[in-house]
Amino acid sequence: MNKPLRRIAIFCGLLVLALLLRDNWIQYVKADSLQSDKNNRRVIIERYSQPRGNIIVDGKAITGSKKTTGTDLKYKRTWKDGPMWAPVTGYSSQVVGATQLESIDDGILTGNDDRLFFRRTIDMITGKKKQGGNVVTTLNAAAQKAAYDGLKNRGKGAVVAIEPSTGKILALASTPSYDPSVFAGNSTTDSNTFVKLDKDKDQPLLNRALRQTYPPGSTFKLVTASAALESGKYEPDQHTETPKRWIMPGTSRPLNNEGNIPCENATLRVALQWSCNTVYGKIGADLGKDAMLKEAEKFGFNKEQFVPVRSSASRFDTDMNASQTAMSSIGQYDTAATPLQMAMVASAIANDGTLMQPYMVDELQSSTLDTVQKTEPKELSRPLSKENAQKLQSMMETVVEKGTGTNAKIPGVTVGGKTGTAQHGVDNSGKPYAWFVSYAKTSSGSPVAVAVVVEDSDANRGDISGGGLAAPIAKNVMQAVLNSK
């Protein structure tokens, strides 16, 4: 009986061998794909197993982490002044995941980023737990607060403030906002709260500063004025040959001005001071679509921006006839801009014609505060020559000094700005959007350019004008930046 017994022994050995091979297959060959499978709960258990790194503003953390109870996801995200900072940070929720900075720099915040590999290895050897790093932003807490407080009282809207010389984003506010803390956890309450916010008709989760495009209205005249100056055919104080009643080319429709303002044959400066549609519409039509498009794109239109959070592309149509070009040149027809875009326009003008790439992450740090990556300011384009930029600055300063933007005056500081009141909806039936874009200037250059849009208001139509609703907010934001310098 020994021969069959030996064969049985071989057979049993083969059974064990089969198990060993299978074990190698699942624990070695397939290990990585099983480990990182999105349905494998270990992925999120690991993710929330230690306090998350923080997002820093002015040296202070605006986020935190809190130990949870009754779940295997140990730590959840908390925010200080969540609604104010939500457009900057985005959310990081155990139940719906992360967005914006929380998502883009997730690797740093969780400590899993490849750039932290060395640190992680040392921690592993010394037996320390893995720790997340910090994201240091460029934001200015005072400016952000001024922006958020100003918007909060006005309903829906957004503010973007930029440091023109570097492109650093100083304020990024959007209302109505939400508190990311309320759905940061893992419970049904968290998930229900998120669904409710997501379905809210006021769209609190929408980051209006980056992701909503509005008709820019008269603020777009800054782009048209830039194109005019760059063409070499116009000077700020040279009279434009504009009739009192200007009929758009190829149509029998006149382009109207708002109210009784001195637009006939006005100079660029006066036309900007009073926001003459006829003058800038005609300039746009005269320069032509191509020149206008080229200038708009130099300012960043028709392109998504990454700050590093993605912003929607603003739009200047690439296929228009002369009358459509005229309408577009005063920020109507289908011209659309994000608040970020208009802040970039103001910023480029204030920075003597050089547009810097806007950004809001200054530095990524490891858990021991070593710099992992530092953002260096980068030039994006030169929409204007220095001379033309300074000419346009003086025109914008006139607007604030004695035009539609007087509400933005700051004593002892040079302020340049432009108002806008954009009509929209069928037959302009929607409540107009009130715009104000501006910059402040001191002897050492311009520390801040800002764009404000107030989307909706309970005030009646007549009262909505960029100068009335948006300029005071812009003023407060600029003042906050000036005071913190």
Partner: protein
């Protein structure tokens, strides 16, 4: 471990037979037992340090308990089976000890405690119960060695064994006694205890097969016709194999357990082959297994769903997540546990195999070893099982009587098949069945029955290696001695 090296050479494989003055190897066993107790104690300390950051309170008691059990077993072997195989007891002790550690480790899981409270209203730790079962198992081991002086005595109970096995196998089908646990009817419920009679039936059935085949082997082996290179058994000799086959099919259909069915039929074919040395029986056995499995699978939805879950565990997981009844996420969770363990594992107490949920410490216990000890640790455990099987088969080879050969070969073969079926099922090599890993997994029946099985193997190995008694000097021999001058 010189006995291992001698067994590797076929030339010396019979060296233990009747080798007068062969070493008893009891001291080898004792030395190995020290490791088999110390390793689990270290593992236990490791789990406590990983989970609570301190040595577990029960460390001393647990270490002493395991040490005491191993010590008692060793003393009894030394006294009653002095020439027994020195590897079997340490290997089983190591597995039992590691099993206890991981069962204790899973007792500490918040997730499993919550689940238990949800399901049963209260959570009771399993490790103390398993320690009790181990003690009972060792007691049975001691009892078998003390009472069973010679394994050939079991031969007398051939037909009683058959009746006993049938009763044990049919018990789970008795209304009011049998329970359906996770889709398999292989449990009975007596006075607050759940018993898996199949584990005991395995041993009793092996005794019956050994006794029966020893008597019938010549008829089965010789009275056959040759056809196409195979020896075809006579019709009437086919009777027994058809009966066993039919019983296996009945188990499969009524107890819906593929594993138990495969185990019994497989064991019978192995023993039939050893008894008759006819390869044709293997061919018949494989054919009948295939016919039975495919036949039953064609109408038995339970078997079909098991096969489906095996072929596509991810699909099964997603269905279960959607709350569709009759689906289980365990198979996929086990695969994730193995994969997440990778090569070296997370370390004891630091994995998340508790995600498997119910039966994490019984049917699925291997997944915890896979995750926390990694590929390396799990392969070691599989090799330990392989060693037990090979030592059992070695015992069968060395035994002089056919009954002992058949019994040791059958028990070892059944052990190997069980390990393959369970481990293969958990690792997704074959469809999942409702059996557990011998010695490792939580479950009284399994631990107790397998200690009894081990006792029988040790008894047979003792008989095999025991030196033949020196021929008694007779007076006649004295008188006929030739005295040379």
């Amino acid at each position: 471990m010189s006995s291992m090296s001698s067994s590797s050479s076929s030339a010396t494989h019979t060296s233990t037979i009747g080798a007068i003055g062969a070493p008893s190897r009891r001291n080898t066993e004792l030395a190995l037992l020290v490791f088999a107790v110390v390793i689990p104690v270290f593992a236990y300390a490791n789990v406590g340090l990983a989970i609570d950051g301190k040595l577990p309170a029960g460390l001393l008691g647990y270490g002493l308990g395991l040490g005491l059990l191993a010590g008692v077993a060793h003393v009894v072997v030394r006294r009653f089976a002095a020439y027994a195989d020195p590897l079997l007891l340490p290997l089983a002790t190591l597995l039992n000890g590691l099993g206890l550690v991981v069962i204790w480790r899973l007792d500490q899981s918040d997730h499993l405690q919550r689940l238990a409270k949800l399901q049963y209203g209260a959570f009771h730790p399993d490790a103390p119960k398993q320690l009790l079962y181990s003690a009972i198992g060792i007691a049975l081991f001691v009892g078998v060695l003390m009472l069973l002086k010679d394994h050939r005595i079991l031969q007398r109970y051939t037909y009683i064994s058959m009746m006993g096995a049938l009763v044990l196998l049919l018990l789970p089908l008795v209304p009011g006694l049998g329970m359906n646990v996770f889709g398999a009817r292989i449990w009975i419920h007596v006075g607050g205890f759940s018993i898996q009679p199949g584990e005991f039936a395995k041993i009793v059935l092996a005794i019956f097969f050994a006794g029966y085949l020893m008597v019938k082997r010549d008829a089965l082996a010789l009275a056959s016709r040759r056809f196409m290179g195979l020896y075809l058994p006579r019709g009437r000799d086919l009777g027994p194999i058809i009966v066993v086959w039919a019983i296996s099919i009945l188990i499969l259909v009524f107890e819906t357990d593929l594993g138990t069915s495969l185990l019994f039929f497989g064991m019978f074919v192995v023993m039939l082959y050893v008894a008759t040395e006819r390869t044709s029986w293997i061919v018949f056995g494989l054919l009948m297994s295939a016919v039975g499995a495919v036949g039953v699978a064609s109408f038995e939805t339970h078997v079909q769903s098991r096969v489906q879950a095996w072929l596509n565990p991810m699909h099964e997981y997603l269905l279960s997540r959607k709350g569709i009844g009759g689906h289980s996420e365990q198979a996929m969770q086990a695969l994730w546990a193995f994969g997440s363990g990778g090569t070296l594992g997370t370390g004891l107490g630091q994995g998340h195999s508790d995600l498997i949920g119910f039966a994490a410490n019984s049917d699925f216990i291997l997944a915890t070893y896979g995750e926390e000890l990694g590929l390396a640790g799990l392969m070691a455990i599989l090799v330990i099982y392989g060693l037990i099987v090979q030592r059992g088969l070695r015992t069968a080879l060395a035994t002089r009587d056919p009954f002992g050969k058949l019994l040791a070969g059958g028990l070892s073969g059944a052990f190997a098949i069980q390990v393959f079926v369970v481990a293969g099922g958990v690792m997704g090599l074959i469809p999942l069945t409702g059996m557990t890993m011998p010695f490792l997994a939580y479950g009284g029946s399994s631990v107790i029955a397998n200690w009894a099985l081990l006792a029988i193997l040790i008894r047979i190995s003792d008989t095999a290696r025991r030196p033949a008694p020196a021929p008694a000097p007779t007076p006649d021999a004295e008188m006929t001695q030739v005295v040379r001058p």
